[in-house]
Symmetry: C2
Subunit: 241 residues, 2 copies
DNA sequence: TAAATAGTGTCTGTAAGACACTATTGA
DNA sequence: TCAATAGTGTCTTACAGACACTATTTA
């Protein structure tokens, strides 16, 4: 019986897919690895559980703070899943619990602790493999981005990319960047307003930018959108296999 | 540095939420635990990783076969997520990767290996806690059922509950059981037919049952439904907080 | 004034839900 | 024949997408 105890023990890490918007494009925080294996390669921020009683989500929040200087608790953080293919890490049997974090525009590049360097990479360039990642992190990023895209449809997650107050065009640019589509501003406007509790006016205030000043809004109490904001691209009938 | 290696090592298990339909209601496979902890209590089938090189999904498939006598590979099996709260298992730091499995009607109760007994429990009675579960398995079941409900909307998963061929009323009863709602048969009929590639006629055959014989269908090539089959209950505007 | 962005209204097609009606079996 | 289940048609309402139009700012 004790064999089984020994044989089923694995090393546990947390990895983070931290998404934000920079210059209207979706970006992802990557670190340049300071140690072996994959030294010098880019990877997701993350690390081993600190001790045997550390909660997994808490460990993710800790790494978020250590490696990205971000205060969890203020931003969206959720589990993506476990990635534990036997060969994924040459150090042994390492199972990683990946998490998705969404942050509004950030102060700037953040120096990691045991990372050589950290920078914001455009998600496109990661997904098309022009920025190669260590381990199975490309798969994790793919899953994380898809999760974010899907959650934008049915939840108010998009407001997590914005500051405390925002204009509806800013919110629209969030949807456009994450989905990488373009939307009709007028239909978007009408639709967002039609979802009760999604956004609420934040004062009669306004803000200049070139044309007519836009009304400001802040996130409303609703977390589940009804009706949902559906992605386009579904236009063609979905077929496969 | 080696402290960290030691301190981040955990025991890994897989747990299974195995759903099927019995007497038009959604059922879940539970085992009566044969050992401590929680001896005698009901729990999800599952167990420790067999060895350090066993793949997690493969371990889930193995447990599916060992504890339920089901051949994975024939049925739907996907990861739900990792459950690893520090206090969840008195034996130490145990992290479980939960999986969802969907099976058509099964031969009958299945005797487990290291389980005292196994039986099909109505999901309602588990969710309302009239059948209490060991560990954090209620949470896992809740997540698994919600995942199944959501997947019925956007994928052809419902056909996995049916046999090779089925009538549209049978398919409707799947939706009604999993969603625990009732649907208008006529609208359901029209809608399913409108999703291209969801179901395809299986011969001009028919099958008796009391009234007019129904046409038989089998699962089509489509895995992603367009348009999706949306759940009712969303009728009221979704608010919270 | 023109250029630019914000915001409103209107039309059209598609799909959801309600429900009347016809069809085909067994008893 | 009646009861029961299968399958079709039709109406109303809601919403997505296209797009004309008005409003309010800076240059």
């Amino acid at each position: 019986m004790n064999d089984r105890w020994e044989s089923s023990s694995v090393l546990l890490t947390v990895d983070l897919v931290i998404l934000t918007l920079r210059e209207e494009r979706l970006h992802l925080l990557l670190v340049e690895r300071g140690h072996q294996p994959h030294q010098g390669a880019f990877a997701l921020p993350g690390g081993f559980l600190r001790n045997r009683s550390e909660d997994i989500l808490a460990a993710a929040a800790r790494e978020l703070s250590e490696e990205a200087g971000l205060d969890a608790g203020m931003l969206h953080l959720e589990q993506l899943g476990a990635y534990g293919e036997p060969g994924r890490d040459p150090r042994g049997r390492v199972v990683s619990v990946a998490h998705l974090a969404i942050a509004p525009r950030l102060p700037e590049p953040v120096a990691g602790t045991d990372a050589a360097d950290a920078y914001w990479a455009p998600v496109d360039q990661v997904l098309d493999e022009s920025v190669p990642l260590a381990f199975d992190h490309l798969q994790i990023v793919t899953d994380g981005v898809e999760r974010a895209r899907a959650k934008l449809e049915s939840t108010a997650l998009a407001t997590a990319f914005c500051g405390l107050t925002f204009t509806l065009s800013e919110l629209q640019r969030v949807y456009e960047a994450v989905w990488s589509t373009s939307l009709d501003a007028r239909n978007f406007y009408r639709k967002v307003q039609g979802v009760s509790g999604f956004v609420i006016p934040a004062g009669p205030t306004r803000r200049t930018e070139g044309g007519r000043p836009a009304r400001l809004f802040r996130a409303g109490p609703t977390t589940v959108l009804y009706p949902p904001m559906v992605r386009p691209s579904r236009t063609e009938r979905g077929e496969d296999q």
